[in-house]
């Protein structure tokens, strides 16, 4: 909470912010209108597994501010798609509640302002790219030359213009994904839900999509991304939640999650088993990633000492420096590495 005297400045940064805030809500008090998504103990229990644990999504409480890029991360089956379906009103919570732009989940009131790309999207097979976007545009009441112009723009944007007359039936996996992104953007939404945006895309396609996301963010759009591709999410997201087995196990701003005060990181390759044992004794923490051995030390001198010993033992120093965790490490620490 900010001091009561300072007024909300959010609207200046974000043109989509509700105008009422300019009327003098205090900073930190305008959250009601500054939030794109808010959920409270949102739960969806499908069944219980053999050990009696609930399967689905349990007690998810999150807040996504307008203009944020929010990442919902988690291994397969952790409840990401379930969360999206709840937010879109496709399925209903067993308990808990949520709001999007201040409207209860499932209400039609916020559908005008959102876009949704499902995972592995499916469309009417008999339509071609243009017809498909005309169909989705018409669902927003769009039509005429305004819609046609929008469709042309989007087809160029997702790289489908040259393939616009191909029918969905004959689409490749990546083409479905691209046209899926286009239909999600047809109404120029303020809030976009993207489930595994880059799945099925070639590296260039994935890069283009990331650029697209950046440009949307720059225009003040709110993005809600589901993924397990942590490397992609790390530079993109402002804030993430990590889900595991339907429960939230880590949440925060990416900067905060990655920051570790005062630790020194030593990365080695070609470490012998003998030396690895020694390293475990001297380091605070040792992680092994494929061929890479990562050791963390509390002080610089301890790290240097081990680095020298490692070199003497025939290992190669790949990196030595201040420790920044990767999202992958945060993820593995949170999820516990279990499959």
């Amino acid at each position: 909470m900010g001091p009561a005297t300072s007024r909300c400045t959010y609207r200046l940064q974000n043109p989509n912010h509700h105008a009422a805030c300019a009327h003098g809500e205090a900073v930190g008090r305008c959250w009601v209108i500054g939030l794109a998504i808010k959920t409270e103990n949102l739960s969806k229990v499908y069944t219980h597994d053999a050990t009696g644990r609930p399967v689905g999504l349990m007690d998810l409480s999150l807040e996504v501010e307008e203009g944020q890029i929010f990442g919902l991360l988690g291994p397969n089956g952790s409840g990401k798609t379930t969360t999206l379906k709840l937010l879109l009103g496709l399925i209903f919570p067993t308990s808990g509640s949520g709001e999007i732009f201040g409207h209860p989940l499932g209400s039609n009131a916020y559908k005008e302002r959102i876009g949704f790309l499902p995972e592995g999207p499916y469309f009417y097979e008999h339509l071609n790219g243009i017809e498909l976007l005309q169909f989705y545009g018409a669902l927003f009441g769009m039509g005429g030359s305004q819609l046609n112009a929008r469709i042309e723009e989007l087809l160029h944007l997702v790289g489908m213009w040259d393939r616009r007359f191909i029918r969905v039936r004959n689409y490749s996996r990546g083409m479905r994904q691209r046209i899926g992104a286009a239909q999600a953007l047809i109404n120029d939404p303020d809030l976009l839900f993207l489930d595994e945006l880059t799945s099925g895309l070639d590296p260039i396609g994935a890069m283009e999509m990331h650029k697209l996301l950046m440009s949307l963010r720059d225009r003040g759009k709110t993005l809600f991304l589901c993924s397990h591709l942590l490397k992609d999410m790390e530079p993109l997201c402002d804030k993430v939640i990590i889900l595991n087995q339907g429960r939230q196990c880590e949440m925060g701003r990416v900067d905060d999650l990655l920051r570790v005060e005062g630790q020194v990181r030593l990365e080695l390759t070609g470490v012998s088993e003998e030396f690895a044992a020694k390293l475990k004794a001297s380091a605070d923490e040792v992680m092994v990633r494929d061929h890479l051995t990562v050791a963390l030390f509390g002080t610089q001198s301890a790290a240097l000492e081990s680095a020298q010993a490692a070199a003497a033992a025939g290992a190669t120093i790949a990196h030595l420096g201040a420790h920044q965790r990767t999202l992958e490490e945060v993820f593995i620490a949170a999820v516990g590495g279990d499959e």
């Binding site: 496709l90 469309f123 669902l139 927003f140 899926g180």
Partner: protein
Amino acid sequence: MLPVIRVARATFHEAWRRRFLNGILVFAILIIGSSWLFAYLQPGAELQMVIDIGLGSIRFFGMLIAVFLGTRLVPDEMERRTIHTILAKPVSRAQFLIGKFAGGAITIAANLILMGLAFYAVFAIKAPAFVAEKPEDALIFQAMYGNIAKAILLSFFEMFLVLGIAVVASVIFTWVLSVITTFVLYFVGQMADLFQQLSDPERGAGLFARIVLGAAYRLLPHFEIFDMREAILQGIYVPWTTLAKTAGQGAAYLIVVLLIGYLVFNEREV
């Protein structure tokens, strides 16, 4: 309104590409087209036979199409997950359901029109010859052309009602169960009058029969109201007001059915 039209249009285009339904249509047209051949099996009643087979086929195959189309409309959307992107747009579940039904109704209408045209062609070509051989049918024959058109029109209303029941059953039950439910309602609905007779205390119906069969008579869709067979065969003029009344009854029942479907679908996870 626009979303309903768009969903209906897409539904029609998808449905028109269903091989199985096209197969039923082709088969129906073959049967109707050869109905005059069967007529020779009933010497002396060829005219009646052509009408029986032709209109009977339209009703029967129309009903099959309505059941197998209607029970797949919504489940297909869910299984193929096309419904997810649609309901994420500003399309209410009511609009979606009505759009699916309307698209199905257009498909059925197109099928009935094709079958009707085939029958009309056969009738126009073959009936005069049959009448020439049996002059006492000449008067009846005059009234038949109009009545056949009215009978086909009635099949529209009838099949829309079957379609509505099929769509709603598919939202409530599994596919197999929804097919069975629709068939049972259709065939039992043909016999609604029988229930009334059986529940008549003056004919010796007990309390139990009166309650159960009486309720069945009131709740079941009365499909027999769509049957004009007798009137056509006897050359009785059927006034348009009768047709309008029948259509009204069908529409009232359809609205109730769709309303139930909406209430269930609104709570349904997709």
